[in-house]
């Protein structure tokens, strides 16, 4: 029972940390808003200072929600990829899934943008952007899957992921070269997208997409557990491997693609967070790992967001740098600990 109490305690700490950081992310920012005012706006939806209300309601809450859902989505998609590739270093960023999403958006904005509504960034434009990102990330996922059935070596697949990333970057460069000034501007603005750049209307697309992706993933818990022991065993236990793989990829593309579509590529969360969850709960069972990964992902991204805006300062650091600085040490630690990496497959 001692162990059970410990586990409940861990969950409690995580949930409290998540809620605390979410509120902290709303309170802290370049403009100092008194704590009382923040609470008043949050709970009553009114304020005597209209500028405070605007800041909280139109900037800080969307940003905190974006950080929360980006943390959920990226870490969960990383967990799924690590399980399905049986590869501790898999994640949406290293395998080129995020680059695939960029490619999708680049083709949309610069390739077919002459008759587009994208530049207006209405809800319809948001949907087209996100669908382009899904298609791009899905394409790269299926390419990697096709190769990984032939090549079993982890390192080879990772190198291929990097190659795909570079190739998509090259295609994006070529597209930029041939596109006119206004298209280029639209695309550059998109690439600079950060957590703070997501508007309320974009959130109306982002949150449902992530929600659906997470929902599918929760339905896949049993399948993910079976995939842990490899496809042959999963198949011998009666799993429809093709269908399962498709569902996992579908939800992964949905999760990683949606976030990349609106926030740009955010690295290293997808690889690092599932490992933190494994260390914390000492299990491989997705019934625990999936919600654990999700919450820790939210915590890490909210924390990164708070750090990136340097409370009280006007300057904002790029979120990608913060997540890299947090994630890379975890990844180095995994590599050192897992010396028999090539044997993991």
């Amino acid at each position: 029972m001692q162990i059970k109490k410990q586990i409940i305690f861990k969950w409690l700490i995580l949930v409290i940390a998540l809620i605390g950081l979410f509120i902290a992310d709303i309170i802290l920012g370049s403009v100092n808003i008194p704590f009382k005012e923040v609470l008043k706006i949050l709970f009553t939806g009114q304020s005597d200072h209209s500028e405070y209300f605007t800041i909280i309601y139109h900037f800080r809450i969307p940003k905190a929600l974006t950080a929360l859902f980006a943390g959920f989505a990226l870490s969960v998609s990383g967990l799924q990829m690590q399980t399905i590739f049986k590869n501790p270093l898999a994640g949406p960023y290293v395998l080129g899934i995020s680059s695939g999403a960029s490619l999708g958006v680049a083709i949309l904005v610069m390739g077919i943008s002459s008759f587009t509504v994208v530049s207006q960034f209405g809800v319809l434009g948001n949907w087209t952007i996100v669908i382009a990102a899904w298609l791009g990330s899905g394409l790269i996922l299926f390419l990697i899957l096709a190769i990984s059935t032939r090549v079993k070596d982890i390192m080879t697949i990772l190198i291929l992921g990097i190659m795909f990333g570079s190739a998509t970057a090259a295609v994006v460069n070529i597209l930029q070269y041939f596109s006119n000034e206004s298209m280029l501007k639209a695309f550059i603005i998109w690439t600079m997208g950060s957590l703070g750049g997501v508007t309320l209307s974009q959130l109306k697309v982002l949150i449902p997409s992530v929600f659906v992706g997470l929902f599918i993933t929760f339905l896949l818990i049993k399948i993910l557990n079976a995939m842990l022991v490899g496809e042959n065993y999963a198949k011998s236990m009666g799993l429809n491997v093709q269908l399962s793989r498709f569902l996992v990829f579908f939800s992964t593309s949905l999760l990683a693609g949606s976030i990349t579509a609106f926030c740009g590529p955010i690295g290293f969360i997808g690889i690092a967070v599932p490992h933190v969850a494994r260390i914390l709960f000492k299990t491989a069972n997705h019934k625990t790992l999936l919600p654990g990964t999700m919450i820790i992902g939210g915590i890490v991204l909210l924390f990164s967001d708070i750090v990136s805006q340097l409370p009280g300062q006007e300057k904002i650091l790029p979120i990608n740098s913060i997540t890299a600085l947090i994630g890379i040490p975890v990844i180095i630690w995994i590599i050192i600990k897992n010396k028999k990496l090539a044997a993991v497959s």
Binding site: P88, K222, N232, Y233, S236, M237, G238, R278, A284, N285
Partner: protein, 340 residues
């Protein structure tokens, strides 16, 4: 006499890999085999002859190029995926290496075809998993991580997973590879016990012929172009085993039930003695390419003189006599002699 029901039948099977070009890559054709209730079957054959492919076909992981595999007279391809998983379970040569995967969690994965879509383990499922661990004698390891236990223990846990899957048939691809000698014997003995006590039909491939001969009820012997089945004793008596290594220096010793290297015996040597000492001295002499003749004192000969405390080997050659304290000394001397 009533014939036992053949609940597993392989008919005219052609296995291999289909290729995009016109010609298929055929590994083996015309396979006809069978298995009965409660039988332990050992699949034996040279490396690369297609044992693993045959097992993958039998477990439905790969489709045959032609022919049929029937369980209870119903073709494998007519079974639903989930029904088949409740009937046949599989242990491959892959080593499961997942961090933080507990033994009990791995075993209860075997309940996969029996649980609902969420994989919720009911008390029945937990009971079955615990019982499976107990049957292989590994219940002490239930909370250990799968990559913290030894190879022999892991193999038992993998077998427990198939027991939790609760299938009539268990198929194992080289379960004794990578194991040390005691573990090899124990694993195969465990399979034998399970086939009898739980009335399961268990099929495994192996290179350890001695063990297979001792424990299996039936052997499927895969030669280059032919496949034979029968009790190990039948295959010994009708010289079928000798075909396995026809082109090598090995031959099967019918009396001892073991493979030996064919030796070119040069010289004859007489040997006197009895019991274990006689047998092992004979073996040593044979290794040195002598043909041993029991009790022949007219040629170079060795007498084993033993009492309760000591033992001597007396070599008599051309009226010269030499004494040796051990077989090793004797063999060193004989080697020197034969050189000149």
């Amino acid at each position: 006499m009533e014939k036992p029901d053949k609940i597993l039948k392989v008919e005219n099977l052609k296995i291999g890999y289909s290729s995009k070009k016109n010609t298929d890559n055929i590994l083996f054709e015309n396979i006809r085999l069978s298995g009965c209730d409660g039988e332990l079957i050992a699949l034996v054959g040279k490396n690369g002859v297609g044992k693993s492919t045959l097992l993958r076909n039998i477990t439905g992981l790969q489709n045959p190029l032609n022919g049929e595999i029937k369980y209870y007279n119903k073709s494998l391809k007519d079974y639903y995926r989930s029904d088949f998983a409740k009937m046949v379970s599989f242990v491959s040569t892959e080593i499961i290496n997942v961090n933080n995967l507990k033994v009990i969690d791995l075993v209860s994965l075997g309940r996969f075809p029996h649980t609902n879509w969420f994989g919720k383990l009911k008390s029945e499922d937990i009971l079955q998993s615990e019982k499976a661990l107990q049957m292989v004698g590994m219940n002490g390891l239930r909370e250990k991580n799968i990559n913290e236990i030894s190879d022999g223990e892991r193999q038992r846990v993998m077998i427990a997973r198939t027991l939790a899957q609760n299938t009539k048939f268990i198929v194992l691809d080289e379960p004794t590879a990578f194991l040390d000698l005691p573990n090899k014997y124990e694993i195969v003995h465990l399979l034998n016990r399970l086939s009898k006590e739980e009335n399961k039909t268990i099929l495994f491939s192996t290179h350890d012929l001695n063990i297979a001969i001792q424990e299996a009820d039936k052997i499927w012997l895969m030669l280059d172009n032919e496949i034979f089945e029968g009790a190990p004793e039948d295959l010994i008596l009708n010289d079928t085993f000798n075909k396995l290594f026809e082109n090598s220096n090995l031959h099967f010793d019918k009396i001892k039930g073991d493979f030996r290297l064919k030796r070119k015996h040069k010289e004859k040597i007489g040997l006197f003695g009895e019991g274990a000492r006689y047998n092992w001295t004979k073996k040593a002499l044979e290794r040195l390419n002598f043909t041993v003749e029991k009790g022949n004192e007219y040629i170079t000969n060795i007498k084993i003189e033993a009492d309760d405390n000591s033992c001597k080997w007396v070599l008599k050659s051309n009226n010269k006599i030499k004494y040796f304290e051990s077989i090793y000394e004797l063999s060193l001397f004989l080697k020197k002699q034969t050189k000149f």
